[in-house]
Symmetry: C2
């Protein structure tokens, strides 16, 4: 696959996740089979609810990270398939619970499970998938991998509670916000990437490289996601532009626009976010204020910053197709918005 490499900074123009998809295709076939099998249960409602979300066309980026990170260090066993499945189940469980917490109606362009089967089923099937995730990890038998992933599970929940506690708080600082997204999003990217070298028996610096890559990629990914909610294409995004605004979520574009705003503009934000006056006219005004203050551009700038750190985390590692593919992922994540 011909790719133009810019020699100055190693960035690839037109980066995509095609390389990553290609390298992990065979393994992902097995992951997808294992997902279907382990989401199965004699209790019919479980596969129904689980498969609604599982089959809704997520990119499965996190399990691909685990697979590529294991391949990168020459891993040849079976455990990466199980851990990748485990990672995807942790992610799916989080989405099911998130939709309940956020009272979301749509996810990936489909009705959320809670709209079809109710909050109860979403909570419980999420719990089931989390249980299955742990069983898969135990099956692999690596205490290091178990430690990394179980720690991530606690941290993700902690991040979600942090986000809930800070909900509608426009005084949230940028640092506080980074703590939230580091925990709720980046921790799983980091764990997904790190367990690859762990099961491959890679060195400590190699583990640290993949952990840092995952963490910083996750931060960039979340920031771009937050930027996309104020522009971009609703079909690509799988959610509707303006969802965060309507739900009164305090994401980085809002934090920047609020901090940089005039007193009158801050009143508008309080009205919109805290009192939930978030109709189409308010949304249009919000995006206008963001443009005026460069809030979206600078959110993307922050994402690039983390993307650079992710790239440099991998720099000392030997050149492999996996390394190149993982670097492409950074540029892909960021270029989604451009």
């Amino acid at each position: 696959m011909g790719v133009v490499v810019n020699i100055d900074n190693g960035k690839r123009e037109g980066a995509s996740i095609k390389e990553l998809i290609g390298l992990t295709a065979a393994d992902m076939g097995r992951v997808n089979k294992l997902i279907l099998s382990k989401a199965g249960s004699d209790v019919e409602m479980i596969p129904e609810v689980a498969n609604h979300l599982i089959s809704s066309g997520g990119k499965r980026l996190r399990p691909m990270l685990t697979l590529a990170a294991a391949q990168m260090f020459g891993y040849e066993g079976e455990s990466h398939i199980k851990l990748a499945t485990s990672v995807e189940f942790m992610h799916t469980a989080t989405l099911l619970h998130d939709d309940v917490v956020d009272e979301s109606g749509m996810r990936r362009g489909k009705k959320t499970a809670r709209m079809i089967w109710g909050n109860q089923a979403s909570v419980l099937v999420g719990d089931f998938l989390l249980g299955q995730a742990f069983r898969l990890m135990v099956d692999v038998g690596s205490l290091d991998a178990l430690d990394i992933l179980s720690t991530a599970a606690s941290i993700i929940a902690e991040g979600e509670v942090m986000q809930l506690a800070a909900a509608k708080n426009l005084e949230t600082t940028e640092d506080e916000h980074f703590s939230v997204i580091k925990a709720k999003t980046a921790a799983l990217f980091s764990a997904a990437a790190e367990v690859g070298p762990v099961i491959a028996g890679a060195s400590k610096p190699e583990r640290a490289a993949l952990r840092s890559y995952g963490m910083n990629l996750g931060l960039a990914f979340q920031l771009i996601d937050d930027a996309l909610d104020y522009g971009g294409n609703s079909t690509d995004l799988g959610k509707n532009v303006g969802d965060d605004f309507r739900e009164g979520k305090v994401t980085l574009p809002v934090i920047l626009a609020y901090r940089r705003g005039t007193p009158a503009e801050r009143e508008f934000w309080k009205h919109s976010i805290e009192e939930n006056v978030s109709d189409d006219a308010a949304f249009e005004k919000a995006t206008g204020l963001m443009a005026r203050h460069g809030a979206i551009a600078d959110t993307i700038g922050r994402a690039r910053h983390f993307g650079e750190i992710a790239r440099d985390a991998l720099a000392p590692l030997e050149a492999t197709p996996q390394k190149a593919a993982l670097i492409d992922v950074i540029d892909f994540c960021i270029s989604r918005v451009v």
Copy 2:
């Protein structure tokens, strides 16, 4: 402590959990400290929500089972403290999620966390505690214990979904109902008891004995709980008599009264359970019908049956104070209702 032993069947009159409490008191002191420490977080809402339930005076029967079962086989390390804490966290997480699923207002005589902090916090703090439970297990480092407890986590969630799917279904058979309570309640009792011998390096038959004891004790415990909801003292129970009826739960007393009822009585049950006409007058009628058909007495009879199996599961084991205390627990659980 003087206890009258009936030589015929090994049952103790006036059995209590005092012996179990006494034997595990020192260890439980350490478990309680670990609970407070591991429910801690810089995210203030987490210890607030967690401690509301943790400090609400549950009996902590499950962690005591783990401790006594470890002591019974001469275990002398630290891991039983961590596993007992892990078991209590799994239980607490389940209660937090259950209250959301059942839309419960009261638990152990106090407002539920969801009434104070909302459903969102209950879901997420439950997830956090589950994550912490797994971290404690990983810290212990026994793959066997991890296998037992992570399998229990999946099974519990499966049981909860089964219960949700069967909600308000008066045609639920007794066998189906046993499958539900085996999964949602007894599986954790069983796992809590089995991990004791596992970390103590006991033999396979010893593990199987404790596993079977826990499973059957859990079934008896749940059936008595269901009987108590139609009589008994609301303070002892920590919930209000009639809660299950008002929530339209199909428990064994209802299943038996419905099956044995006249066509007119079955109409009453459909009206009450399926259409939620469950005021005080309806509740009085319900208890009257249960009395007429011996539904409560036979629910207790079924509980005794499982209690006998639990007792016989321990029979081959050497006589120890722990064994005697665990047998007392069976009689205590059943005598709660008499």
